[in-house]
């Protein structure tokens, strides 16, 4: 019970803004070089450095997950020669982004049941189908993962964590340009002898910033006012154009 509580505090501490107990015996300390990624008008993806130390030799696994959402997987079918969106299956709890990193191949570090319980590796992500009885579920979940990988949001291969000596580690996490906004979590696990001996979670906030973000926000919050402004701007632009090109 105490161990569970301790794990919970370690897991949630940074999220709640509490300072994790900085005792010397903490087996694992990890952090990101930047906890905020701003998507501006010229955003082309970003690199985030995750680094930390362990209290001795061991291996490290990192799982980064974006905010979860519902996703519909829609299949086009040919109807009378035209490709039309027909069948659609819903999935819940789909992370917007999923990346892993490890110092050795994850399969060598932990047995499958543990990997499954920590959702390590794409097949272990706990995606919940809305209709688990659908006969074509397999095809649709494969399409979900394939599309996520194609858009760069699910990393097919784990990134390589580098150790400096046997205590200091670092890994570069590549954030693709198409990332959705929200609060991401990087879970860092210290592994020894096929067991997880330390966990730390650290948040990463990705948000839109700048003029473009303001416009998007305004359009979605005040649709009517946005519409009026759009019309007025167009009327004014048309009048200006007329003035500029009037035959003298």
């Amino acid at each position: 019970m105490r161990a569970l509580l301790r794990a919970l505090v370690l897991l949630l501490g940074p999220l709640l803004g509490a300072v994790p107990p900085a005792q010397a015996q903490a087996p694992l300390i990890a952090d990101l070089d930047d906890h905020l990624i701003a998507i501006t008008t010229g955003f082309a993806g970003a690199d985030v450095l995750l680094f930390g130390t362990t209290d001795g030799p061991g291996d490290v696994i990192v799982v980064v997950k974006g905010p979860v959402d519902n996703v519909d997987v829609v299949r086009k079918e040919r109807v009378a020669g035209i490709w039309i969106n027909r069948k659609s299956l819903g999935f819940q709890n789909v992370p917007a982004v999923y990346m892993t990193a490890s110092s050795k191949p994850i399969e060598d570090l932990l047995p499958e049941p543990l990997r499954a319980s920590y959702q390590m590796g794409i097949p272990n992500i706990r995606i919940v189908p809305v209709d688990p009885a659908d006969p074509e579920l397999g095809e649709f979940s494969a399409a979900l993962i394939r599309n996520k990988q194609a858009s760069g949001l699910f990393a097919p291969q784990p990134a390589r964590i580098l150790f400096i000596g046997d205590r200091l580690f670092r890994v570069n996490l590549r954030v693709p340009s198409s990332v959705p906004t929200g609060t991401y979590l990087a879970e860092v696990y210290l592994v020894r002898e096929q067991k997880v001996v330390g966990v730390q979670t650290t948040p990463l906030v990705i948000s839109k910033i700048g003029f473009g973000a303001d416009i998007y926000d305004f359009a979605h919050r005040h649709g009517a006012a946005y519409g009026v402004i759009a019309v007025l701007v167009a009327l004014f632009a048309g009048w200006l154009a007329h003035l500029a090109f009037r035959r003298r």
Binding site: T40, T41, G42, F43, D69, N70, V71, D72, V73, V74, R75, K76, E77, R78, G81, I82, W83, I84, N85, S88, G90, A96, V130, F140, A143, L144, R146, N147, K148, A150, P180, G210, F211, G212, A213, I215, Y216, A219, H220, G223, A224, Y226, G227, V228, I229, A230, V231, V233, A234, L235, A237, G238, W239, A241, H242, A244, F245, R246
Partner: protein, 318 residues
Amino acid sequence: MTWASAVLDWFLGLQIYLPIAEVALNVFLLLGLGAGVGMLSGLFGVGGGFLLTPLLIFVGVPPAVAVATQSNQVVASSVSGVLAHWARGNVDFKMGAVMLAGGIGGSSLGVIIFTVLKELGQIDLFIAVAYVITLSSIGILMAIESANALARTRRPNRLPTKLHQHNWAQGLPFKMRFRKSRLYISALLPAGIGFVVGIMSAIMGVGGAFLLVPAMIYLLGMATSAVVGTSLFQIIFVQSWVTFWQANNNQTVDILLALILTIGGVVGAQMGGRLGARLPGEQLRFLMAIMILVTAGGMLYELVATPADPFTLVIGGY
């Protein structure tokens, strides 16, 4: 002054992130598209929206955003157009107002249809099909008409066909006199035309001049001098209405994209207008018909060709 510098950054940087479309596109590509289509519209005397929307879809703007934004851009181009026609006294405001009454009703229905289709996940398909059908029919009609006109110019002694027939439409109630159009007809006719074109223009994001102008000439028999100015006049109001409801219901109007297209468009239209004055009309119309048919063919291909992956994801679904 951060906004001013942000605006400056956009114009210096090649890629511009369109906040509503949520894609980054090259600003010169967009200006070029606006200018190219504006030039065609100056050359041929139509709005060009029916070409610009498919082109925007080709370069990666989501169809729903392309359509709604195009409505916004049409407002700007119609204002500058109508002011020029007004100065020459070529706007029949009474006719425009009657058509507008129908147009508001039709476009409201069009936006509702648009919203329902968007929720059903079929809006992209519907837009593409609507374009393929209208573009190919208009393209074919224009090609035949201009080919005939070209043939006629070689045999100049043939008489032009009768402009408007006297038929069942003469019996409709609510007759009104339209002085500038030189017509005495039932108000139901222009209102009905406005209604039908209103539906189409809301769904397709076009001003509808390419539908209105032939309808006004061939169905109503309006005096040709007032046709373009009057259609532009009512398009301003219908498209302002559509823009408002698209923004309110669907959040698909990208002001930034509309502005860039407008800038390109007005410059292009001036160039096109000057060029068009020096070129023969029938050849121009024939060229235009070919271009419309090519666009229709491109859209048809997208509908029919086997997609690379038949599956797509809708985030935040159902």
